[in-house]
């Protein structure tokens, strides 16, 4: 026994040698996210006359490795808001916990109107902007889909820089290049939203998920889709892509395994 209480119960240096503390870096600098590690690919969404449809596949990639094939990237917040997450999965899980605590706080508070999609978008955008201003970003691109304070369809995005924007159709990641042009064919402007019903919107989104599966190497044919209307949220987390046709693949020349 020695007179240093800190040494009690520890392996004795003269027996085991000095303890290697290098793994225990509490005196080192704070570490910030410099790049995403396990990532989710595109999230796509479109407004229609009574609400919003949003979809994302169930894959979490580790670089080019399809690491987790059952990750739910759509999160229902309440009966009128769904958040879709693209980008780093651990940051998504952090935001998920943050939204849980926000929800609990809201349920204990005396306000009787629940947070709507517009409120939640403002909140998440401020979280994202604060984190980027601290040089400690949450490496995500979020789509917030639901209904605003007047029960009208609401769809907006917030990214790791805190940039926000809203449009009748939105897509993150690869979807911004592949799906957005297809979505804009049907929904070019805010006025066209009134001409699209739920069935058309769901069909359109499913078509885009198929295009994304064909062309995005970090995608999966298993996906989640949510439909938000006044009646509530209809969330399906185990959808499978239907009517795939790879016939077009044969006509592609110039790269791949064919000889000529």
């Amino acid at each position: 026994m020695n007179h240093l209480p800190q040494a009690w119960g520890r392996p004795r240096d003269e027996v085991y040698g000095a303890y290697d503390h290098s793994h225990f870096q509490n005196a080192g600098p704070n570490q910030h996210t410099q790049q995403p590690i396990v990532t989710g690919t595109s999230v796509i969404a479109a407004k229609f006359k009574d609400g919003v449809v949003i979809a994302a596949d169930n894959l979490a990639s580790y670089g080019s490795l399809a690491r987790f094939t059952d990750v739910k990237r759509l999160r229902k917040f309440n009966s009128e808001v769904v958040v879709g997450f693209g980008g780093d999965v651990s940051d998504m899980q952090y935001l998920d916990r943050l939204l849980n605590s926000l929800d609990i706080r809201e349920n204990y508070s005396s306000t009787d109107t629940p947070l709507n999609a517009k409120n939640l978008h403002t909140y998440l955008a401020k979280v994202m902007y604060k984190r980027r201003s601290d040089f400690n970003p949450l490496w995500n691109h979020l789509l917030i889909a639901g209904l605003d304070g007047e029960s009208k369809p609401f769809l907006a995005s917030a990214d790791l820089l805190g940039t926000t924007f809203s449009a009748p159709t939105l897509a993150t990641g690869f979807g911004a290049h592949l799906a957005q042009p297809i979505l804009r064919r049907t929904l070019p402007d805010e006025a066209s939203v009134a001409n699209v019903n739920k069935e058309d919107a769901v069909k359109l989104i499913k078509e885009c998920m198929k295009v994304l599966f064909y062309r995005d190497a970090r995608s999966l044919d298993k996906y989640s889709i949510a439909i938000i209307t006044k009646e509530g949220v209809e969330l399906k987390e185990n959808e499978k892509l239907e009517n795939q046709s790879w016939a077009f693949a044969e006509t592609i020349r110039g790269y791949g395994t064919q000889v000529n």
């Binding site: 020695n2 240093l4 003269e14 000095a18 600098p29 980027r132 926000t164």
Partner: protein, 264 residues
């Protein structure tokens, strides 16, 4: 036991013999960093007249070659009442990094609203202009990456227009273009608003030529100039387009208009 005493005594923390803990980050090449800014494109412009000020901006928001949305306003009413800024007499336009623009707008708007709450009178444009400069300068070492233009009417009822750089240098001007197509629009404005390179015909030869004097322009003429400036900028700049939002500040209040632009 002797090994224990050979080490430095613990200092402050709960740890024992933590003197081997590295206190510096692992050195070596940093492969990839986080860049906290983005360029969201677009252009804004402001022109002041004898009894009005016009601010205008396109509504396209871009990121690289992608269009985020075709309708993202860059013009914001400052002050007034409530979230819709009812009765506001000042307009702020911001172009550059949209998230910083939004944050800047929210800060200025709350300040102007608090001013009215505390002093019982609306803030003057010149006071608001100087406050905006201070907000920008306060973030001198991590700037709001925006080019701001502030418009309103001064104490004499004349059109007032102030333009800023990202770190708060500001100046009152007759006209200013900012953003992606500033270099395309500004020379046009110099010529058409301040009559630069315009001479009175037959007033002499060479250095005797009299320059045409700049004078305040009528409001409908300025509106035409703004529309011409933007339709031309849309043709030559890929980050400008989709829609033109205009705010006209007169003694009667703020009139807002929207004109579609080409979406290509």
């Amino acid at each position: 036991m002797s090994a224990l005493f050979s080490l430095a005594p613990p200092q402050g923390g709960p740890g024992y013999s933590f003197n081997q803990t590295p206190t510096t980050a692992p050195s070596g090449e940093r492969q990839h960093g986080f860049y906290p800014y983005a360029d969201n494109g677009g252009s804004t412009l402001g022109i002041s007249g004898a009894d009005f000020t016009i601010l205008a901006g396109d509504t396209r928001s871009t990121n690289g070659y992608s269009i985020n949305t075709r309708y993202a306003p860059k013009l914001f009413k400052i002050g007034g009442e409530g979230p819709d800024n009812k009765g506001a007499r000042i307009v702020l336009s911001v172009v550059g990094f949209a998230a910083d623009g939004e944050a800047l707008k929210e800060r200025l708007d709350t300040i102007v609203k608090m001013y009215k709450y505390q002093h019982g009178k609306p803030m003057s444009v010149s006071a608001c202009a100087q406050r905006l400069s201070h907000i920008l300068y306060n973030k001198r070492f991590f700037p709001y990456y925006v080019h701001a233009i502030l418009g309103g009417l001064d104490e004499e009822g004349k059109g007032a227009l102030y333009s800023y750089d990202p770190v708060g240098s500001y100046e009152r001007e007759q006209c200013r273009a900012a953003g992606a197509a500033a270099s395309l629009i500004m020379p046009f404005l110099d010529n058409q608003v301040n009559f630069k390179n315009q001479y009175i015909p037959g007033s002499g030869t060479g250095h005797e030529l009299k320059a045409r004097e700049a004078q305040p322009l009528p409001q409908p003429h300025v509106e035409d100039l703004v529309r011409d400036a933007f339709t031309s900028a849309v043709e030559r700049h890929i980050e400008v387009g989709d829609g033109l939002q205009m705010m006209i500040i007169t003694a009667q209040g703020i009139q807002e208009t929207f004109t579609p632009l080409k979406q290509d």
